[in-house]
């Protein structure tokens, strides 16, 4: 009798399958990097900390308490700390999301479903505001509408018109909503355009043939069919706006206008860590609530929204007739105002020796190429000479590079497991956990990592202040996207291709390296570029984790803006914007040439 479990028994084969081993390891890692930090965050808010002794005499470090939650939700401070910012967050979030959806949806319709001219180059222009860092738009807004009443120099508006702009135009709900909408409408545009592309225009033509009017078709066919896409776009855009930190901070803080996100930052600056974390948790809950509501809406009606597709799909463009050119000019002007003009303003502002004087004699290259001059900008040299900035630039590139490469590779491996082991519940769990970071508003995610890695824990050293931590959070934050890219890539690689290699005796590692990676590479490299650009312009995510030695361009730019050194900050943001635009151009160009190649192959 042989009692030992044989190596080739079904159980052992399951356990020894390298893919299963990898699956378990990844599950463990993701659990540690995604779920645990959330628990840490929650735990931190219900435990007395060392610094709490100065807040309350009852504090016993290490003991459980509801103190922080009560302070935030039901104390004399609550109005200022929670409720007012909550209202502000909701109002700016909803207004900006609605504007972004209306504008993005309208543009998507023009580009996808109408015969508007100039689509080819309008499309990249229209996505510009989303490509550049969000607070570039806030800085540009300030350049125009800044008001000396709150301090600082007058903006372009006052210089030209001679009267200061109303304060509600300069700071608070209005500018924050508008600039958030400006930054996020391309996001809504991309989501709605994606949905519109899958809609068979013959659905509308069928109604047209039965004699229905255009209005009736729009009301009874088109709107109901795109409704779920709109609902999803609403929630995703809203979730992004409420996690935005830098933009509301720049356009709100000067007048004590706070959102939850800026309040997290403000509390941390005051050393009220646990209060900040309570707010971060509330922010996460808001995001989850929105997702849950939309899932419920779409879920209840899921069967109604499954479009059926088969041969004969057709996406036909509506002839705009006489409106063709007016609409083109409208869209082009809009694209210029939101995509190009802000960058021009930033560029111009960065050339002004004395901020706020818009005449030509005031122009200087000092903030770009000048040497340190104690008279100007507290002696900060121009951005191209500044050792601090060069260090930050290097950090930025390193961070973006490592994060993009790691996120893409890990994403590909996870995608592979998810696609190939789709019947394994653990693989599905892996997929779901990898998606969760998408639900964390950026600043709250940063707060989670701050609690998680502030001190050494077991074998894991205190990562706060290290470059590794920045890479870690950037990678995890990009995972939802890179897994999605990977899934698309792996799905296109037929299982047979791999089986053919398996029959030939290739091990799993070899198959992955020699078949999956090369075949998925074009998709994954594209995803890598997208991540590179995405990490580069990220600020809200890492602002809480940055220390002087790990600063990146975006945080340096933000600090300059905080200190009122607007020319320097504009110059820096402009540099980041140029890099991200260049990255997108490369992607766009690569995508175009790929399309051309495909077309050549088909004809």
């Amino acid at each position: 009798m042989e009692l030992a479990i044989r190596r080739d028994s079904p159980l052992m084969r399951l356990i020894l399958d390298p893919v299963n081993i990898l699956l378990m390891i990844l599950l463990g890692i993701l659990f540690y990097l995604v779920l645990w930090p959330f628990l840490e965050l929650v735990l931190h808010t219900i435990t007395w900390g060392d610094s709490d002794r100065r807040l309350s005499r009852d504090a016993v470090p290490g003991e459980y308490t509801w103190f922080h939650w009560l302070e935030v939700t039901a104390s004399p401070l609550s109005e200022r700390m929670l409720y007012a910012p909550l209202v502000n967050t909701l109002i700016t979030g909803v207004i900006s999301t609605v504007i972004a959806l209306v504008v993005g949806g309208g543009l998507a319709w023009c580009v996808i479903r109408s015969d508007m001219p100039g689509k080819g180059w309008l499309q990249p222009v229209l996505t510009l505001p989303y490509i550049v860092p969000s607070f570039a738009i806030a800085l540009a807004w300030e350049t125009v509408f800044r008001s000396p009443k709150v301090g600082g120099q007058p903006g372009l508006y006052e210089t030209v018109l001679g009267i200061p702009p109303p304060e509600w135009v300069s700071y608070g709900t209005f500018p924050i909503s508008i600039t958030l909408a400006m930054h996020y409408f391309p996001f809504a545009y991309l989501l709605v355009a994606g949905a519109l592309m899958t809609i068979d225009s013959q659905m509308e033509e069928g109604a047209l043939l039965s004699g229905a009017s255009r209005m009736m078709i729009l009301r009874r066919i088109t709107f109901p069919v795109v409704a779920p896409a709109f609902a999803a776009a609403f929630v995703l855009t809203f979730g992004k706006t409420i996690g935005q930190f830098a933009l509301p901070f720049l356009l709100g803080a000067p007048t004590q206008f706070h959102t939850i996100a800026t309040m997290v930052y403000a509390n941390l600056a005051l050393g009220l860590d646990s209060m900040a974390y309570v707010l971060a948790i509330l922010l996460i809950l808001m995001s989850l609530l929105a997702i849950w509501a939309s899932n419920k809406f779409v879920g209840n009606n899921a069967r109604r929204f499954e479009t059926i597709s088969g041969k004969g799909f057709r996406s036909r463009q509506v002839a705009l007739g006489g409106w063709r050119w007016p609409i083109f000019w409208g869209v082009a002007t809009f694209g210029f105002v939101v995509g190009v003009l802000p960058l021009i303003l930033l560029g111009y502002q960065s050339l002004m020796l004395i901020d706020g004087f818009f005449n030509l004699s005031n122009l200087t290259m000092h903030f770009w190429t000048g040497q340190s001059d104690p008279e100007i900008a507290m002696g900060e040299p121009g951005v191209l000479h500044n050792a601090n900035i060069l260090g930050a630039a290097w950090n930025t590139i390193e961070l973006a590079f490592f994060s993009a490469v790691i996120a893409s590779l890990v994403g590909l491996i996870i995608a592979y497991i998810v696609v190939r082991k789709d019947s394994n519940p653990l693989a599905r769990m892996l997929d779901q956990i990898a998606f969760i970071p998408f639900l964390f508003p950026s600043i709250a995610f940063g707060a989670m990592y701050l609690t998680m890695f502030a001190e050494a824990r077991g074998p894991i050293p205190a990562l706060y202040g290290t470059f590794t931590l920045l890479v870690l959070i950037s990678v995890v934050n990009r995972l939802p996207y890179s897994v999605k890219t990977g899934v698309t890539a792996v799905t296109q690689i037929g299982r047979e291709l791999e089986e053919a290699a398996e029959v030939a005796g290739a091990s799993w590692g070899r198959r992955f390296r020699k078949i999956i990676v090369p075949l998925a590479s074009s998709g994954v490299v594209t995803g890598m570029m997208v991540s590179f650009v995405g990490v580069m312009r990220e600020l809200s995510l890492i602002i809480l984790l940055i220390t002087p030695s790990t600063r990146v361009l975006m945080t340096v730019g933000f600090n300059y803006a905080e200190e009122g050194l607007t020319q320097l900050s504009n110059a820096l943001v402009l540099i980041v914007a140029m890099i991200t635009i260049a990255g997108e151009l490369i992607l766009w160009w690569a995508g175009k040439s790929k399309l051309v190649r495909l077309r050549e192959k088909n004809s």
Partner: protein, 369 residues
């Protein structure tokens, strides 16, 4: 019921001409099939009839009334043309139940409540969809979705049916059943039907007349049997028929006007006036296979035998020439065997090798050489 007349219709997409000067008369109550390879302009023609595309040139009359004219700038909108259409993708509205999908067209007609309900119930019953009327399209099988598309068409009782490859999303067996059913409904309603397909069996079995198209031009308009027997050019001859027709290119033999040869085979077309180079079309069943020497027969080697149920397709080789023949069970041949072949002169078609146009059948002169 309605007749349709199309005159010199041209439709261009940029530099590409999708319809090239198409003229066609469709009789009232006819089942007309547009047949042709993918991309030849069938859908475009159908959509021009529906008013979903605006042609660049030409006129369309429906029941004598001008519904489109490029010269007069007259465009009657789709909803006013009194026609129903089944799309290749069905284009069912995913957010409406089966019943609502069918009801939509009736709502537009402004019928009385009771009439609308009666018609709706009737058409759902006729198509056997009564039990499924509260389902959504995504909860139906392909065949059922097809029926909804059909119900949507039938409910408003339009005098003209337009169908764009309505069966191409179904599997082979279901397609067969639906062919019968479609034909039944068409006969029952008597509506003029224009039906697009690239499947020649579908065209042959369902139509009263077939229009063969290629590159935006009409190649031939004929009843199906005529189409098979007398293809008017080599493209149609080659496109129609499975297995495909034998097209033998041959040149006039020296001195004898009626004798042609391609080096391996000699063919006598019996004409005194003919071009120097021709193509002879012979359907596989027009080759008489025998193991005996017959008058005018030539000897071939059987290079391949492909049995297929009631018939067998064999490949014959003589020199560099390869021919396909269709034989029944009365003769048993094997690979490598030598057989003799006689052409059925009456069934052959002779084409001009240059233009590809049909010259006519050979004259069966009983000339003995």
């Amino acid at each position: 019921m309605a007749s349709i007349e199309i005159e010199n219709l041209t439709k261009r997409y940029g530099a590409m001409t999708a319809l090239d000067n198409v003229s066609l008369k469709i009789e009232s109550g006819e089942f007309l099939v547009l047949l042709g390879p993918s991309g030849c302009g069938k859908t475009t023609l159908l959509r021009c009839l529906a008013g979903l595309e605006t042609p660049d040139e030409g006129e369309i009359y429906m029941d004598g009334e001008l519904v489109f004219s490029s010269k007069l700038k007259r465009i009657v909108p789709p909803g006013k043309r009194n026609l129903g259409m089944v799309f290749q993708s069905y284009a069912l509205w995913p957010h409406m139940t089966v019943r609502d999908n069918v009801k939509f067209g009736l709502d537009v007609l402004n019928l009385s409540e009771s009439e609308s309900k009666d018609r709706l119930d009737q058409v759902l019953k006729d198509l056997g969809m009564s039990d499924l009327q509260n389902r959504y399209p995504s909860e139906l099988s392909g065949g059922q979705q097809q029926r909804v598309a059909l119900a949507r068409l039938l409910a408003t009782k339009p005098p003209v049916f337009l169908m764009d490859e309505p069966l191409s999303n179904l599997d082979a067996r279901l397609r067969m059943d639906m062919r019968v059913e479609l034909k039944k409904f068409q006969a029952f309603t008597g509506s003029t039907t224009v039906y697009v397909t690239h499947d020649q069996t579908e065209a042959m079995t369902m139509s009263t007349r077939v229009v063969v198209m290629r590159d935006g031009q009409i190649q031939q308009v004929s009843p199906p049997s005529q189409l098979y027997k007398r293809p008017e050019n080599t493209f149609v001859a080659d496109f129609i028929g499975m297995p495909r027709i034998n097209l033998i290119q041959a040149n006039q033999s020296d001195g004898k006007n009626h004798l042609y040869s391609n080096g391996d085979i000699d063919i006598d077309i019996g004409w005194d006036e003919a071009p120097s180079s021709i193509v002879v079309g012979a359907r596989p069943e027009d080759l008489k296979i025998s193991k005996k020497e017959l008058k005018g027969s030539q000897t071939y080697e059987v290079s391949s035998v492909l049995p297929n149920g009631p018939e067998t397709i064999i490949q014959l080789t003589k020199g560099g020439t390869i021919l396909l023949a269709r034989i029944g069970h009365e003769i048993d041949v094997h690979e490598g065997e030598k057989v003799t072949v006689q052409f059925d002169q009456k069934a052959l078609n002779v084409y001009d090798a240059k233009s590809g146009a049909l010259l006519g059948p050979p004259i069966d002169t009983d000339r003995t050489n």
